[in-house]
Amino acid sequence: MPESFLWIGLANVFVPVNLAAIVGGTMIGMVIGAMPGLSATMAIALLLPLTFSMEPETGLSMLASLYLAAMYGGSIAAILLRTPGTPAAAATVLDGFPMAQRGEAGRALGLSLTASLIGGTISAIALLTIAPILGRIVLNFGPIEIFAVAVLGITIIGSLSQGSTILGLFAGVLGLLIGTVGMDPTTGTPRFTFGILNLFSGVEFTVALIGLFSVPQAIRLMLKSEADREGRVSSIRDRMLPTWPQFRELLPNSVRSSAIGVLTGLIPGTGGDTASWFAYNEAKRFSRNKEAFGTGHPAGIVAPEAANNAVVGGALVPTIALGIPGSSATAVLLGGVMVHGILPGPTLMTEYGDVTYTLLWAVLFANVALFVVGLFFTRACVAVTKIPNRVVGPVIIVLSVVGSFALNNSMFDVWLMLVFGMLGFVFDEVGIPTPPLVIGLILGPVLDTSLQQSLLIGQGNWLFFMQSPIAVVLLAIALLSILQSTPLFPAIGRKLRKPREASDLGDDLPGSRE
């Protein structure tokens, strides 16, 4: 069956409307990514309502292309303005901007585009290979294992998120708690609805996403001054495409950085920013010309750009195979799936296999579209980087309000979106990470349903979870992921080392064997 879905997905991608969606998503993603301060996550969240009226495969192809293109778009602002368009492009600034200042802005952007193509293609192939295999394994999972996967997802994302583990877990658990609002899946009891009918079906996840990722961003843009754009490069005059010898030279670095990107993406809680810094450091470590890094060295552009585009495929593996998003961007993408009434989880690869496989192929073809569109439209994107922040801020708000209204034609959703927007802004200001909150919102209903089903099967016995070896291993990893980031873990390590050191010393003492 999965083989047939594979071909159905490939055929779907070539439907003209889906191809148009891929090209359209690529262009929008590039433009939004090029605007400093606007992230891929926000772009997907804002465009979600637009895909509501499309066929699921068309809408998802568009969102996936947008995600990928925004990663490259981020490098345009990084190279020309010294301001990364997306957090994932921060490492590109180090060598991209000096190269552009030397009058080689075209070369820098061409290197970024080529590296993005290599990284994106490798990650798409990895996605097409790993996701179906993992999906087949997950098909054997029952409610106990799904519960354990959900617990693992939230603990890993909480403990790996920026800032402290406590705050990451705090945000994740708050998301899970908000996820319990609405009708209870077993008894049908309305929970925390306060008699509001709109809340009976739960907190609309997409509405929360738009609020959490768009409103804080719009407010921040209004507060930012434009002074930091001094010394920007305002035109591209040189050739973009690298020559064949240049391409051959950048290939090993691109492949290594792509592998780093895919592996980083596979780990929930890490994203393009982590991968790009990791790849940059590795490129520097492997280079014979270490001192050239930071002065406009091609390898310093290729490494982060290949890695951040390779993250896309890696991050989509747990999202598609397990229904557990590895990052905020994939969480929003999963929201795109849910908008069409498709439930995340193991059924994504079976019941909705045609849609899922179309998405997998779309990620691969979006890389080709990005390369072509990038070659023709990067020069046009230079104009986008000149749009002041304070023009973009109000536009985001108008799009957020209209977009959240479009989901259910309800003003209640607009107010709910604004409440989440304010919550997101407060969290950002005090340094509490929002991605675990979003992922908690997705996993809340999954956790609730699987817990209740498990306890029904186990007749209320909590030790029932210990009967599945897979669940035990997953829950043990979840516990370890929490413990490793607490002061308890190093303390245990020290304690374990001490007796060994003492016994090692003791071996040398006379009479110690007695």
């Binding site: 877990l169 708690l177 929970r191 719009a218 507060l223």
Partner: protein, 151 residues
Amino acid sequence: MGRILVAVVAIGVAFYMYGQAADYPRAARRLPQLLSIILILLATLAVVREVVRLRRARLADGAAAGPLVTLPEPGKVLIGVAFVALIFVYAWAIPVAGYLVATPLMLALPLIALRPVGWRGIGITIVAVTGVIWLIFIWFLNLPVPLYPGA
């Protein structure tokens, strides 16, 4: 300090949700109550951590320690508060005044007040944004947004 405030509010919310859930059937209250307890624990830990961090910072800085809360520039606070108020007024105004009145005003007020672009830029932005969103969402997707006052 902000983190402490958020954590304290979260503790209050978690206690309230725990109490509310007590009235639900056993299966319906199980997860919300469990999560409320975990949230209270995590929020308490966050408060303790933040207090310890602030204390250490104060001890390290000694007499030269600054205030616990650093306020942003008054100008920025004013812009932020005014913009947030404008967002809420915009959401309220759409069903009352209609999209074609509320949206140009939402865009015009901050652009005129802060002048990030010239008058021509302001005009183009208002017409282009209002027009494109109308074209996509209202004309193409048939979104039932009231367009004029009383519509």
